[in-house]
């Protein structure tokens, strides 16, 4: 069945209890619905030239009049981001890949640093200087626990791979039966 466009003012009772003062958005917003706006699609006269890759939400029809340009999508993280933008902001398949892309991007950042001959100073970048200055004992405890946990996991993984090797049966010579 086809949907029909109605003139709501022709509906019996339309607007008889309307109360403009009953507006929870006041004073945050000067209430104006699209029908009251003579130019609801108004855009700034000048539009920023799209001279770089801008990922656009599919919930809007165009690129906004201005946009940020500093970090266009690149590499594997860029591929993931482009795929994410095929879906709306309403979907997990938009947001979750973006979070994954952010993590991939961190690895790409380290590789990029190294490729440019720069070894990241993780201690400084993580601001450990101030932890050392203002929170030393807790910081040492935390680092010790992380180191112990990491060593434990490494030991466990290496021992389990050794035991797997030991338990692995000798390959049978299936051809011998023939």
């Amino acid at each position: 069945m086809e949907n029909k466009t109605l003139d709501p003012t022709q509906i019996k009772g339309w607007g008889i209890d309307a109360d403009p003062k009953n507006d929870p958005t006041y004073p945050m917003r000067d209430r104006m619905n699209v029908g009251q706006d003579p130019d609801s699609k108004h855009r700034p006269d000048s539009l920023q030239p799209v001279d770089t890759e801008v990922l656009r939400s599919i919930e809007r029809p165009n690129v906004s009049a201005v946009f940020g340009t500093p970090a266009p999508p690149t590499g594997l993280s860029g591929l993931i981001r482009r795929a994410a933008f095929k879906y709306s902001e309403n979907r997990y398949r938009h947001w979750l890949p973006l979070i994954v892309a952010d993590r991939v991007n961190v690895v790409e950042g380290i590789v990029s640093d190294l490729a440019h001959g720069k070894v990241p100073n993780i201690w400084a970048e993580k601001g450990y200087n101030v932890e050392w200055k203002h929170n030393r004992s807790a910081f040492i405890t935390k680092m010790s626990l992380i180191a112990a946990a990491t060593a434990g996991v490494v030991l466990w993984l290496s021992s389990s791979s050794d035991s797997k090797k030991k338990r692995r049966p000798e390959p049978r010579n299936y051809l011998s039966r023939f």
């Binding site: 004073p27 945050m28 917003r29 855009r43 700034p44 933008f85 970048e125």
Partner: protein, 384 residues
């Protein structure tokens, strides 16, 4: 130029980056004089905001001096010193013309649910922020406001976000004369919201946090009662108890996604990112406000979902009001309040660091070290 640069969760550095350029006729380039680290920057710092790209520069609280303007900029000239609202607004779209400058539709291509914010991920428009020596400021005819003669730059920089957001939190709470107002979170925004609650006629203001030094600060700065939720069995029962078992008239969530206090929320929201942050404060707000009350949200959450007791919102007949602050709308009134001595924004500042030490600044704020409330970063060019 020197700028802060994001390298991954909890990893930032100060590094040399190219100078920003005019990209649109209404752009201006601003030499940053003061810039701050905001509580909401911690969501980016912790890697919790989707589409936060390595190499981005954060910083949405900054003031500066105009050094270059685009061909269509008519309201600013080189040499003007300006307060730059944290949100980027065209001033012309359907939303800006309703005073919703935090919800502009012509500044963010990458998400429709959020307006553009300086230095706040590509989800918020992909603009570099003000934790740098220079920054590109779009729509320079609209957002930037000239710093009044004689106003301290430290006051001015807090008018970009902290004061308007705290004020709007109180405004959205719909406070009536004599109301009891509870504020969750004694960070800079919560402290300012508690201070501003009095301006709307609150009869009692209570702030809840887990850091004693922040509670002590709030007690002195905002003239409010302050309680540590770590010393309570259940903060909701505590609030009911001290409000004649009715609940508060208005509750403000000034915490957002980094909330502590509930292991399940912390693990699912902050560690596993299965929620858009930990919604502990919002959960408490809904449950501790009285029936028919108002919950005002200015704490920042991510774009996906959160676990909150929405059934209680229905059954208690609550009103929830939330938004990014409409800085441009509020600035004239707030500038008056600062100039008349009603508000003292710079009283929030506890630390000053050179931009070169930005990583230390983030760590200090994130780990709440050295009684940190608010850090101002000073770029090397700030004193030129």
């Amino acid at each position: 130029m020197l700028a802060m640069e994001y390298r991954g969760p909890k990893r930032v550095r100060a590094t040399q980056k190219p100078m920003p350029e005019i990209k649109h006729p209404q752009d201006a380039i601003v030499r940053v004089l003061r810039t701050c680290i905001c509580g909401s920057d911690l969501h980016l710092y912790n890697g919790n905001v989707p589409d936060t790209r390595v190499g981005s520069t954060f910083g949405h609280e900054f003031v500066g001096e105009v050094v270059e303007v685009g061909s269509e900029v008519t309201k600013l000239k080189t040499g003007d010193r300006v307060i730059v609202p944290f949100n980027i607004a065209c001033g012309e779209c359907h939303f800006c013309r309703q005073g919703m400058f935090g919800n502009c539709h012509e500044s963010n291509t990458e998400a429709t649910a959020v307006g553009a914010i300086f230095g706040y991920s590509h989800t918020a428009g992909g603009f570099d922020g003000g934790q740098a020596e220079y920054t590109r400021v779009p729509y320079a005819n609209v957002g930037p406001t000239i710093i009044p003669e004689g106003m301290d730059l430290d006051d001015a920089v807090l008018l970009t976000d902290v004061v308007p957001t705290g004020y709007q939190a109180a405004e959205m709470a719909g406070i009536q004369t004599g109301d009891t107002v509870v504020v969750f979170g004694a960070g800079p925004i919560g402290i300012m919201a508690a201070r501003c609650a009095w301006l709307f006629g609150a009869g009692r203001v209570i702030i809840i946090d887990q850091e004693d030094y922040r509670l002590e600060f709030a007690r002195n700065y905002s003239y409010c009662e302050a309680y540590n939720f770590r010393e309570m069995n259940d903060p909701v029962v505590f609030i009911k108890k001290i409000t004649d078992w009715m609940g508060a008239d208005c509750v403000i969530d000034a915490v957002g996604a980094e909330a502590a206090g509930n292991a399940m929320q912390t693990i699912t929201g902050r560690k596993l990112l299965l929620q858009a942050g930990s919604a502990t404060a919002l959960h408490w707000a809904i449950n501790s406000v009285k029936k028919g009350g108002v919950v005002s949200i200015v704490g920042v959450y991510g774009p996906t979902d959160n676990l909150i007791p929405i059934g209680n919102v229905l059954n208690k007949g609550l009103t929830i009001r939330a938004n990014q602050a409409s800085v441009k709308r509020l600035l004239p009134r707030l500038i008056d309040h600062v100039q008349n001595g009603v508000l003292n924004p710079k009283g929030l500042i506890t630390h000053r660091l050179p931009l070169e030490e930005v990583a230390d600044g983030y760590r200090m704020f994130s780990a709440k070290l050295d009684n940190n409330i608010k850090t101002v970063l000073l770029p090397p060019t700030a004193n030129q």
